[in-house]
């Protein structure tokens, strides 16, 4: 029952953090709110006894990536007057909620009817480095390898779209 309580806590925090990311006006508040989501997700992974993913989530996402994002936001030094005016924000949110509500209802129905809703935690060092590594390099080799192309392309994209413009060579 303690685990159930923790699950509810983390799930609610994750959703609230994500909502905050969208709703806060200043990017810094949004980023801080997103940190909450990432840490709650790490908590959810820990509840599933996915040790490695839990650690990676904290170190890579909540740690490295978020500190970079916060650093960039601070670097840009955004003042309240730099932000765009958001008129009729409440009305927009309300309208969007009404449109999305049926889909949300549909999703709740789906999730409630998923099989294996109550399962025992797997023992046998599930979620440790070795089992995850074996799974990644045996069953999921193709997606794992092609992700490297994806990262390469996004790296090039960041350089080309945001990097310093080279002199055009004719």
């Amino acid at each position: 029952m303690f685990a159930d309580g923790l699950f509810m806590l983390f799930a609610v925090l994750a959703v609230l953090g994500a909502a905050g990311l969208v709703l806060f006006r200043h990017p810094m508040n949004g980023a801080m709110s997103f940190v909450i989501t990432l840490i709650s997700l790490a908590g959810l992974y820990a509840l599933l006894s996915a040790k490695l993913i839990f650690a990676l989530q904290l170190i890579v996402y909540a740690g490295a990536i978020m500190s970079l994002i916060v650093f960039i936001i601070m670097f840009l030094n955004i003042q309240p007057e730099d932000l765009p005016k958001e008129e009729g924000k409440l009305l927009n949110i309300l309208g969007a909620l009404i449109i999305v509500a049926p889909i949300g209802y549909f999703l709740v129905k789906i999730v409630n009817r998923l099989p294996n809703a109550t399962t025992e935690l797997l023992g046998n060092n599930f979620g440790g480095v070795k089992p995850v590594g074996l799974l990644l390099f045996k069953d999921w080799l193709v997606p794992f390898e092609i992700v490297s192309i994806l990262l390469l392309v996004s790296l090039m994209g960041a350089l080309l779209l945001a990097g310093k413009k080279k002199e055009v060579s004719k």
Binding site: I146, V153, M156, V168
Partner: protein, 472 residues
């Protein structure tokens, strides 16, 4: 084992070629022209390697190591050929295009090849997570190519719109995958099919919901109604050759994975027939309505791309899950790609500096000044409209007959009506080119170039493809 390696070779060539081009573009000695020729060489070699194997037969590539994720079947090989040809013609016409537009750097060609590697993966993959990664490889490379001209505000708007909406589509695909995995415990198409065959499609809401979200993501990328709104602006903002590439190569890859997913099980396909029926009808007519109202040639072609997605959806409705070969879809994609790429490579050398000729009126009297180019453009337009003896006619013919064979007579009739409506905007350009006096001399266009060579080669292809009928 060796056979598997050979079947994987086009993908390996394209991947290695992309990385080599990326590294090479760091050196000063590589200029835009040599990068263009390099990427064209990569595409040409990969195309010939793909062509040199027998197209028939299915093979699960390295079924132990890759765990059955990559499959090379007749359909994926055919779609791969179309994609590689699209890449080849895009690289060559880009070379001419960038003689008059100066925002190119050698990395542009490397990204074109990277996008093709994502597309090839997408045609071969039989698993949802790999499909997601491959889709993102393709999309990310295309986003960058769309926004390549950083000084152009329209391009910046296009890339922002595409990136945001594309991220939504990616999120839907992930969500759908999660639901399907939650119900079936697998993400492989074949095993999902087995699960549905054993337990029934309508018995589990998670599969219905999951498949719905996955379909939404594919329909978004294929620019089907009601997810077509982004297409016009994005195609308008991208440079000419990239617009052609997006309209052909990207669409081929998406329809390949779409068809592969749908034929996983007969019940899965049957469950979505009504939905796809309405989507395809609305896509055809919404696309036609949008295309009729356009003054810009590029926007008209974008809208006509929506209509062609509608025809391809007819083929998806009519596809048979038992003996799936995808021949009709691959044939139509090849025919459509020849026509569309042809017109975009013609526009690459005719549109002039900074794409100053973009509207219908700008091409008035082209036939008087450049008779051969005008004739080639007319051939492409007639092929897209579906006039015999072009490839477009044969493609539409196969789609309509397959729809009638599958008992979808209403859909076939609506397809023919939509095809008649589409004459309006295709013939409009032909009339503008032939029945007006020339207002300008088109003197600033590059006279003999790779893009014009591509145009005439593709005009030949339009007829050649129509002479290569399918054995249905």
């Amino acid at each position: 084992m060796t056979n598997d390696l050979m079947l994987l070779l086009p993908l390996i060539i394209v991947g290695v070629g992309a990385i080599a081009l990326m590294l090479a573009s760091a050196y000063k000695i590589i200029n835009n022209t040599s990068a263009a020729l390099g990427s064209a060489l990569v595409f040409a070699v990969a195309f010939l390697v793909q062509l040199s194997f027998c197209l028939k037969g299915n093979a699960v590539l390295f079924s132990d190591t890759f765990n059955g994720i990559l499959v090379a079947n007749t359909f994926s090989k055919g779609a791969g050929l179309v994609i590689l040809a699209c890449g080849l013609f895009t690289s060559l016409s880009s070379q001419t295009y960038f003689k008059q537009n100066d925002f190119c750097s050698p990395e542009y060609y490397s990204l074109t090849v990277f996008a093709a590697s994502g597309m090839l993966l997408l045609t071969m993959t039989q698993e949802l997570i790999s499909a997601f990664v491959a889709l993102e490889i393709m999309s990310l490379a295309i986003y960058i190519l769309v926004g390549y001209n950083r000084k152009n505000v329209v391009a910046a708007e296009a890339v922002l719109k595409y990136l945001m909406l594309g991220a939504f589509a990616g999120a839907f695909l992930t969500m759908g995958t999660a639901f399907v995995y939650g119900q079936t415990g697998t993400t492989q198409f074949a095993k999902i099919g087995q699960y549905i065959a054993a337990n029934g499609f309508t018995q589990s809401p998670a599969i219905i919901g999951g498949a719905f979200f996955i379909l939404v993501a594919f329909l978004f990328k294929a620019a089907a109604f009601p997810f077509h709104a982004w297409v016009i602006d994005v195609y308008d903002g991208a440079s000419m050759p990239i617009t052609g590439y997006m309209a052909t190569g990207l669409k081929t890859a998406i329809f390949a994975v779409f068809a592969n997913f749908l034929v996983a099980d007969a019940q899965l396909h049957a469950g979505w027939i009504t939905f796809l029926f309405y989507v395809s009808v609305l896509t055809m007519f919404a696309g036609n309505l949008i295309a009729i109202g356009q003054y810009s040639l590029k926007r008209m072609l974008a809208a006509s791309g929506i209509v062609h997605s509608g025809y391809l959806l007819i083929a998806l409705v009519a596809v048979s899950t038992e003996a799936f070969s995808g021949a009709v879809i691959a044939y139509y994609l090849a025919a459509y790609a020849a026509g569309t790429l042809g017109i975009f490579s013609a526009l690459s050398y005719l549109s002039g500096k900074d794409e100053k000729r973009v509207t219908f009126d700008d091409f008035k009297g082209l036939a008087k000044v450049r008779p051969y180019s005008a004739a080639a453009i007319s051939i492409f337009l007639l092929s897209m409209a579906g006039i015999p003896p072009t490839a477009g006619f044969m493609g539409k013919f196969y789609i309509i007959t397959s729809a009638i064979d599958a008992g979808q007579v209403t859909l076939a009739v609506l397809g023919i009506i939509s095809s008649v409506i589409s004459m309006w905007y295709y013939l409009r350009l032909i009339i503008n080119m032939y029945f007006y006096e020339a207002e300008e001399s088109f003197a600033d266009t590059v006279p003999s170039s790779l893009a014009s060579a591509c145009t005439f080669a593709l005009a030949f292809c339009v007829f050649a493809i129509s002479l290569y009928p399918l054995a249905i």
